[in-house]
Point group: C2
Chain length 351, copies 2
DNA sequence: TGTGCATCTGAAATCGATTACATATACTCG
DNA sequence: CGAGTATATGTAATCGATTTCAGATGCACA
């Protein structure tokens, strides 16, 4: 009692369908790719035969003939980092309706050099395993990418991060606005001494967020101290460590804008260990609005970026490029809006 | 000034290599797959030609000929859920050395029925897009999977979750031991009234963890109340909501064991809103040891499961099965150890 | 009636590798 | 020395689809 009907022992090929339908394989193929070409009669016969045989297209054969791979690579800086799952979800959303599969690879290979790493990526292309790539890692070295032939460069889109000065199109959040919103919010609450914990050195997001602060400080006539820019790396640990630095300052800031939510949470935790309360003693603003931000104690005031949309847009952009024939416009940048989400970790400074 | 050497305008095929090396395509192919078969002379010639032409194997062609797909599907219940990225990282670790690509798909399709969903998965196989699958979703309905032909059933491995009573091999954490460790730890601290917030109804992990509690309570002679098993769904929100329930109890528990860290964190946050302190008033234990657990306020006592190892083992198991010829042993279960990590969210009960 | 065009279909080439089979050569051993 | 084996290589079939090209049919119109 395993099933209602006997299953064919072999998987049906297009030849079998043609046989059953009493037509040629060409006709079956056309029925699938361009049904209007066929007469009503053969169309019916073919679809009936497909149903009867349980036929499904063999992708390897199709891809070989059509000189495509049918897959898109998503290059994630670090798969273990939970930050990227939302972006991945967005990419998946855009691609699951298409006949492109998603292939993932982790670009964080501590043992491999940059050039080796880039070779590995290029190989995905030349192996004809992928047709295009969504890169989440702005840290790819330009050297290696230059070695990509120009038509491969047309098949890469960056999401979230990007390579400064390069031609690859990218989708990113409005990091400048995010930083401005954070500073203005703190300023509006009455804060003047505002510190910043940065992301990792060399990262484009680090730079975009960090460098937006100085002009904004100037505009609002806020003081600046060198020590108020604290080096971090987006991690909780970085926030935790920064707490000690901040406690040791003689001119202690009353508010800290962190380049990531994780760092903000680590900071709050670290400050707590030092007996400093948030937001009573120090206000903290994050960046990202990860799910946890809402549930932390205190709930985190942060800059929300829509990671799912980021991934989705990037995938759509890539699809456009893959479907387009000739070389496409270079350096297209798609900037997604961010918004300030005010929660419990910010308040007016004391006194 | 675009590069140092001219790049061939067309991608080299095996035929080109053969031409350059002065051998047949068969010899080139053998040089790649089984070099010892060749004479020193031709081997050298071939490799030299490969280097000269920049030849890379076309995977579509190879896969077509070898009747394989060269990819493995990872079925994730919900890509947005950050829980799975570590497992994914583990799977990646095991597969990146092989010539299998990782393909991901999200099984959370609210619009689709189970049978449709299962069809979609089966299609990945019959499309010859994948050779095997690592499923992280124990919620796959058995109905659909029964429709898979037996040889497809040989190509599925479960990680983390599993389908009770089914033949698919699986890799899982020792959920029973985890629950026991949690209860014993609380008992050792002096707690007697211990509540539990479960995972989602119908989930195998929910059941495994929940059902391990009663025997342990009995063994330790701890009281049980019906209300002390609170229905949840692994989410923070569930923990948040449960806080209200707990506060309303006339026989309030002094400790809560949560089926997930996220729920535990939500609970702590919720309890805080009600003016109940952790661990002073109520102790809380989680399950998973997500990165955040260490950095929360208070740091979370929890059961650590090695998600990366989970993914890695599952992938290795799948590889074994794929490489094996005939049908393999059914129902193999690989249980990974868990450990108790004691942090700040548990303490002896007051008075 | 014949020409021209539109519509539909099939035969066969093609994508790029792997591999079964055949063959050629060298070597071993009775 | 000849049969038998091992070694090295090439020829051509093969995987399963798509697509070019050509042919067949039917119809409109001069």
């Amino acid at each position: 009692m395993t099933g209602t009907a006997d299953r064919p022992r072999k998987i049906a090929r297009i030849k079998d369908v043609a046989l059953v339908a009493g037509v040629s394989t060409a006709t079956v193929s056309r029925a699938l790719s361009n049904p209007t070409l066929l007469s009503e009669e053969s169309r019916k016969a073919v679809f009936e035969a497909i149903r009867a045989t349980g036929y499904r297209t063999n992708h390897a054969a199709r891809n070989l003939r059509q000189q495509r791979a049918g897959a898109v690579l998503v290059l994630v800086p670090n798969l273990s980092n939970t930050f990227f799952s939302q972006i991945l979800a967005g990419i998946n959303l855009a691609l699951e309706a298409t006949d492109y599969s998603i292939l993932i690879a982790d670009s964080a290979r501590p043992d491999a050099s940059h050039s080796l790493e880039n070779k590995r990526i290029a190989n995905y292309f030349s192996d004809s395993r992928i047709d295009g790539m969504v890169a989440l890692d702005g840290g790819l070295s330009t050297d290696g990418l230059e070695q990509f032939s120009p038509d491969i460069a047309d098949k890469i889109v960056f999401a979230c991060e990007w390579i400064p000065g390069e031609v690859f199109p990218s989708v990113r959040s409005d990091n400048v606005k995010g930083a401005q919103l954070a500073i203005r919010h703190l300023h509006a609450l009455g804060h003047r001494r505002i510190a910043h914990i940065t992301g990792p050195r060399g990262n484009v997001l680090t730079r975009a967020r960090r460098d937006s602060i100085a002009p904004e400080r100037q505009r609002l006539d806020l003081p600046a101290r060198e020590g108020w820019i604290i080096h971090g790396d987006f991690s909780m640990r970085a926030g935790h460590r920064a707490a000690a630095d901040i406690c040791a300052m003689k001119e202690r800031p009353t508010a800290v804008f962190c380049a990531s939510d994780e760092t903000a949470l680590g900071l709050i935790s670290g400050l707590h260990h030092h007996g400093i309360r948030v937001p009573e003693d120090i206000s903290v603003v994050g960046f990202d609005d990860i799910e946890l931000a809402e549930h932390y104690l205190p709930a985190l005031t942060t800059i929300r970026q829509d990671r799912k949309a980021l991934g989705r847009r990037a995938a759509e952009l890539l699809l456009d490029r893959l479907r387009a024939q000739g070389p496409s416009a270079q350096g297209q940048v798609d900037t997604l809006d961010v918004e300030l989400v005010v929660r419990g970790s910010t308040a007016a400074p004391k006194s």
